[in-house]
Symmetry: C2
Subunit: 377 residues, 2 copies
């Protein structure tokens, strides 16, 4: 585990469950990604973790921001971020929220439907818009394909509609799905963008922005993922090959890749039970579960690395579950976890790489359990 976080636990012994995020590591992850992708501007995906300390840390490091809602925009503005460095990237926005954002100086908005173009034209006249196209999501742990994005063939007509309505067509975006492990998916997106830039030009629209989205994977422990450097190099090479001398401005929206590895959740074992009814399995119940911040364990999509403090003995396959009276609050039961045979109530269990998509997923109080406590150090 991250030494700084380990020291914090030893010194403060915070009540469980809680999340601790190392801001130095966040800044380090940002700097590393920036170095690996000099050809892109990083717009941190605020939805991954909107803590003010974190936004402040990234703003100081020079990041821009991708926001999904007025509250996320507000959090960036409160950290002193210039509105021109914020993208309102949700393609589903209320008219009043568009108007609110435009009044605060937000200039860049996502669209993927006629309805959204019309709302933007009416509520943020003159705004710059990029059109999100749907691309293949194969290889992603958390695919995004059906809900967002227009077909590539619809993109230029939408941007023409935007132009005629008084908006400024800026470019295109795509998302390859979250925790995507195949760089090829981004290359396909880049390929589409290059072809559509040509089509736009023939329609009299000059585009200059390609938003390659996020989805960059974090190594949670049980999967094979390529190194970030090699993935970004592959994508950068695709940009060079497809756009040649006419390189557009490139945006990328990492969230998980910036904050995921910088966080550790500390939890406590509440109960260990050898269930013999039906399948004979050992169940280990933690004080954090699907409704307390671990929503991404749905379908066992993300398999966090678990460590049990102070136990060295032989291991035993275990179902891992959360503390609520809800049967869906089971973290892992299809593929069991090897946990110490002598694990007992009160034992401390840490879950690594949990800085992203945890705190804000937590319910306000399902079964009366409080949301996840957060510490930024």
């Amino acid at each position: 585990m991250n030494a700084k976080i380990e020291q914090f636990f030893a010194r403060e012994n915070p009540p469980t469950p809680c999340l601790v995020v190392d801001l130095d590591q966040v800044a380090g992850n940002y700097a590393q990604m920036k170095t690996m992708a000099t050809w892109a501007d990083i717009f941190y995906a605020v939805k991954a973790n909107p803590a003010p300390q974190l936004i402040g840390c990234l703003a100081a490091a020079g990041s821009s921001f991708d926001a999904a809602s007025p509250a996320e925009i507000e959090a960036c503005l409160a950290a002193g971020v210039d509105p021109t460095r914020i993208s309102f990237g949700n393609t589903v926005k209320k008219a009043k929220d568009i108007m609110w954002a435009a009044a605060r100086g937000i200039e860049l908005f996502a669209v993927d439907s006629e309805g959204e173009v019309d709302k933007l034209a009416a509520n943020a006249p003159g705004a710059r818009v990029f059109c999100r196209i749907a691309v293949a999501n194969d290889g992603a742990r958390w695919p995004l394909s059906r809900k967002f994005g227009c077909g590539p063939d619809e993109a230029i007509p939408l941007l023409e509609r935007a132009k005629h309505a008084g908006l400024r067509p800026a470019g295109l975006s795509f998302h390859v799905g979250s925790q995507q492990t195949e760089a090829q998916r981004w290359c396909e997106g880049v390929n589409w963008c290059a072809a559509l830039f040509d089509r736009a030009r023939r329609a009299g629209i000059e585009l200059d922005l390609v938003n390659i989205g996020g989805g960059f994977p974090v190594h949670y422990g049980d999967e094979q993922i390529p190194g970030m450097a090699s993935m970004l190099e592959t994508i950068g090479r695709a940009m060079l090959e497809m756009f040649g001398d006419a390189q557009p401005r490139v945006l990328m929206e990492p969230g998980r890749a910036i904050v995921g590895s910088a966080g550790v959740i500390r939890s406590e074992v509440v109960l260990v039970a050898d269930r013999t009814y039906g399948l004979a399995q050992r169940w280990v119940y933690l004080d954090v579960g699907r409704y307390g911040g671990l929503a991404e364990t749905e379908g066992e999509a993300i398999r966090y690395r678990l460590e049990v403090a102070g136990r060295k003995g032989p291991m035993k396959p275990s179902v891992v579950a959360g503390p609520t009276c809800d049967s869906h609050d089971v973290l892992y039961e299809n593929i069991l976890y090897d946990l110490p045979a002598d694990i007992a109530p009160g034992d401390i269990v840490t879950l690594s790489d949990t800085g992203a998509y945890t705190t804000t997923y937590a319910s306000v109080g399902f079964n009366g359990f409080a949301p996840l406590e957060e510490y930024y150090i």
Copy 2:
């Protein structure tokens, strides 16, 4: 729609999304259930909706309470409920929470494992315990079978262990799964309890409590469910047949059946988009979704009734989705909803029978969207 709630909407025009609950209907549902099951004490399952107004209303009506956590116990005590009328029904409890509850006068606790018996003996000596057995959940929309409950054969040894450790074995409980539509499941549970009462007696333990749990269904609109009166009559008859003259005290833990039908969520259409990429389908995006209170739409388990205000024209099959940038935030896409062909952004959409399992499921702020506003009238 409930006339009182309709008038509230017309008079107050509250911002969306929000939930409005009619406390008169809550009291009415309670009274009706009490009349239908004179043979049982109602322990309202606080987890279904822990709003103080609601607990106060039910306490005044004479209800007892099933709590899952210290916060839920605290909410009941704050409403003036006597601790002897509160059951700590979660079978997974922290030692410190058991001690806390015992110190506040809670006398009745659930167990289903040796580990929990030992924790209770150490932290609430002399407490009354009931053992939760696992029973068939076929027929439930939200089955509970694997996470909780011991096998029937383990129940008496567990209660013996409890007795030897200084606890007072009170009885047995079972849960047939949430939104259970087959009364037969409860009868099977009652059957097991009667057999185990005999076994307990032979082991020198006199039991006097049968907790038949909750799971009583609400009619959401698209399903065939039997009437509550006939279900309860069937279960009551099973109690008579199985226990004869030696009727134990019966507890039941309805949650959904008490508050579900008393609530309406008011939402607004944010975007309507004809998606042609992949499947050609119309998508209707609401300002409430899976992370904003509609978690029970997971797997389309609960299909709420949707009404669109002021639209009378022809209908069109639609995918229904929530407002966040998360692809899992889709309410219904496997079985489409018929919604007005001319539905448009800004239209008001009401979701009926949403009083239970909505508010506390809402995330604290996923994607920057606030939890569900609540009104109790």
